[in-house]
């Protein structure tokens, strides 16, 4: 019970932090409005999917260093397939790319099971492989994206019966994010599979002895990670309009947000909500620092310092709680 309280307390604390940050943003820039919120949501989108990809694997007691490379590969694949193709063709591209992410993620998991090499090394090797594959698909940023996909994450959602003032604060990107994550996460969390994922993360041996198919569960966890990473790659293509074969800073950001979001790196603890809120917090800090006209390089220092400080603080709290 106390652990549950602590975990929920962590997420609640993050929410409070988010609200405080919004207030600070409003104070710095009184004109900060719905439009800016929309661009925040669009900027968060690829990060959020990267974080979701990392979260699933971390909960299962592993780590996935190939998230950013997977996003790059899926992004260039989508962009190059849609290049010069018709709008309807994108209807085929999207499921294809998602399936590709799922399969490649499963390959990660299968390699870990079959070779018995530590996950950190397997995903490191896959990072090189996926990066190479991305370079083979497109050797320079390029490609195109269907208009309707671009439209999917720009603008707001008009909901009948709601005044425009509230409508304006519901950017489509946010809605896309919530829907995509919920469709996968909520049924998963309630299913036996979800329970198994938490079980193998918390104690692989105990899970094995209680009859959880450890190997299969691990493979599925990595496959889901690949699926989320593919969503991230698509989001990347949708927001930039092209595909870039060089992975972005998503690996570091995803690990940071996972830890900030209260998911223990040992596995078995935490949920998806915390890390997602953590992503918003991290991006909002960056927005604030930009609004304050701080040198972007200093911004990197501050971001890193915040990350380290928060993680140290979190570790300190857990240590206190244990004593």
């Amino acid at each position: 019970m106390s652990r549950l309280l602590r975990r929920q307390g962590w997420v609640a604390g993050l929410f409070a932090l988010l609200v405080i940050l919004f207030i600070i943003t409003k104070l710095i820039q009184p004109g900060y409005g719905s439009g800016d919120f929309g661009s925040l949501a669009r900027a968060v989108l690829p990060y959020a999917f990267a974080v979701a990809a990392q979260t699933v694997v971390v909960i299962a007691g592993g780590i996935d260093l190939s998230v950013a490379a997977m996003m790059a590969l899926t992004s260039v694949t989508a962009a190059s397939m849609m290049n010069g193709a018709s709008e309807e063709y994108a209807l085929f591209v999207v499921p294809f790319v998602l399936a590709m992410g799922f399969v490649l993620g499963a390959v990660n998991g299968i390699l870990i099971i079959v070779t018995r090499v530590p996950d950190i090394v397997v995903t490191l090797a896959m990072l090189f492989v996926l990066q190479g594959a991305a370079l083979l698909v497109l050797d320079a940023p390029g490609g195109a994206v269907a208009e309707w996909l671009k439209g999917l994450i720009s603008g707001t959602v008009p909901i009948p019966g709601l005044p425009d003032a509230i409508d304006a604060w519901l950017p489509k990107a946010l809605l896309v994010l919530i829907i995509c994550l919920c469709i996968i996460w909520i049924p998963l969390r309630r299913s036996k599979l979800g329970l198994s994922i938490y079980a193998i993360g918390s104690s692989e041996l105990a899970a094995f002895r209680s009859g959880v198919p450890v190997a299969r569960t691990r493979i599925i966890a990595y496959a889901l990670s690949g699926l989320f990473a593919a969503f991230g790659g698509l989001a990347l293509t949708m927001s930039t309009g092209i595909g870039a074969p060089i992975p972005g800073p998503y690996l570091l950001a995803s690990v940071a947000a996972v830890v900030l979001g209260g998911v223990a790196l040992g596995g078995g603890k935490g949920g998806l909500l915390g890390p997602i809120v953590a992503v918003f917090v991290l991006r909002l800090v960056r927005t604030d620092l930009t609004l304050l006209a701080i040198d972007p390089n200093v911004t990197a220092i501050i971001e890193g310092a915040i990350m380290v400080a928060v993680v140290m603080f979190g570790a300190f709290i857990t240590m206190r709680g244990r004593q």
């Binding site: 790196l265 200093v298 990197a300």
Partner: protein, 326 residues
């Protein structure tokens, strides 16, 4: 009677046991095979100059992989080595323009010590996961470096002659960098196998709880370890700038992941408690030869990376099979 009862052990099993007892031998065999492939593909390439060149490029990787080996023995990892090496190299190259080389050296090593200290305190005292801690400090370090770059953009940079001599020079067919590397490697091997500190590293990696219960000050060991690791990375940076001769803000960054791979190929367990530095050195050599091999094949960059990843994975898996099946 009893003599005839002893069945001769099948050759395959005997070979396997032999290799498992001496884990370095399969690695050396792999290295030789790679060199032979290289020689077959491009006859005449394997000469004195090529060997010196390979060693020159393998040494920075091997030192960084040494950082990984030592931290991995305790169950950790140090991903900040790339940033630390880049920082010390860049500061050295820019400070030496106006300062005495000795002063520049001290200035260059300062961030290394500092980052190592922060890493050590974070991991040892606050119990932050080493992966996160070192990624975080490397982010901060990169930011600081970018800010620092602005302040020295006017003064320019130069590579001290001594570092260029150490990094690229060859005397009697031996790269000068060996002058630094051989004592350093001997020191690391000696520390790991013969000193109390080395034993503590293995002990912490094997069972942190047992170590603590037997009266070891965990945080002191870890802090010392990460400072040492960072200082080694700083020295690598100085060596590497003498080799590459072009200071940039991402100088040593491409070496980070290969350094982890070199340590793992060399047989150090990423979960701690098992491994050693000799294997890591051969791992670094294997990766360097492999890179040359892939370059010579003239494949597109993408295919080269794919092969690199696959080979690292395959070698690690095969090696684990050989060593662990007893």
């Amino acid at each position: 009677m009893s003599i005839s009862a002893i069945q001769p052990v099948p050759f395959g099993r005997r070979l396997k046991r032999f290799m498992a007892d001496r884990p370095l031998i399969p690695l050396i065999i792999l290295l030789v095979i790679l060199v032979v492939i290289l020689q077959v593909l491009r006859p005449g390439i394997v000469n004195e100059r090529w060997i010196a060149n390979t060693i020159k490029f393998a040494i920075p990787l091997a030192i960084l992989a040494g950082c990984q080996t030592m931290t991995m023995l305790t169950g950790g990892i140090d991903l900040s080595v790339g940033t630390v090496a880049t920082m010390s190299a860049f500061i050295m190259a820019t400070q030496v323009v106006n300062q005495d080389p000795a002063v520049a050296f001290l200035l260059a090593m300062m961030p290394a010590v500092l980052i190592g200290l922060v890493n050590g305190i974070g991991v040892g005292v606050f119990r932050v996961h080493p992966l996160i801690m070192t990624l975080g400090t490397s982010l901060i370090g990169t930011g600081c470096l970018q800010v620092y770059q602005r302040t020295v953009i006017a003064s320019g940079a130069k590579i001290p002659d001594f570092l260029a001599w150490l990094g690229t020079g060859v005397t009697y067919g031996f790269p000068n960098a060996l002058l630094l590397f051989v004592p350093l490697a001997a020191l690391i091997v000696f520390t790991l196998s013969r000193t109390g500190f080395g034993r503590l590293l293995y002990a912490v990696g094997d069972s942190e709880r047992a170590t603590r219960l037997s009266g070891v000050q965990y945080w002191q060991v870890i802090t010392a370890l990460y400072v040492i690791s960072s200082v080694l990375a700083g020295v690598t940076g100085l060596l590497y700038i003498g080799l590459i001769k072009a200071p940039s803000l991402s100088l040593a960054e491409p070496l980070v992941l290969p350094s982890v791979a070199a340590a793992v190929i060399g047989g150090t367990s990423i979960f701690g408690g098992r491994g050693g530095y000799t294997g890591t050195i051969i791992g670094a050599l294997i990766l360097t030869v492999l890179t040359t091999l892939l370059t010579i094949l003239q494949m597109p960059e993408g295919a080269r990376r794919i092969l690199f990843g696959l080979i690292v994975l395959f070698v690690t898996a095969a090696y684990l099979r050989i060593v662990e099946e007893r």
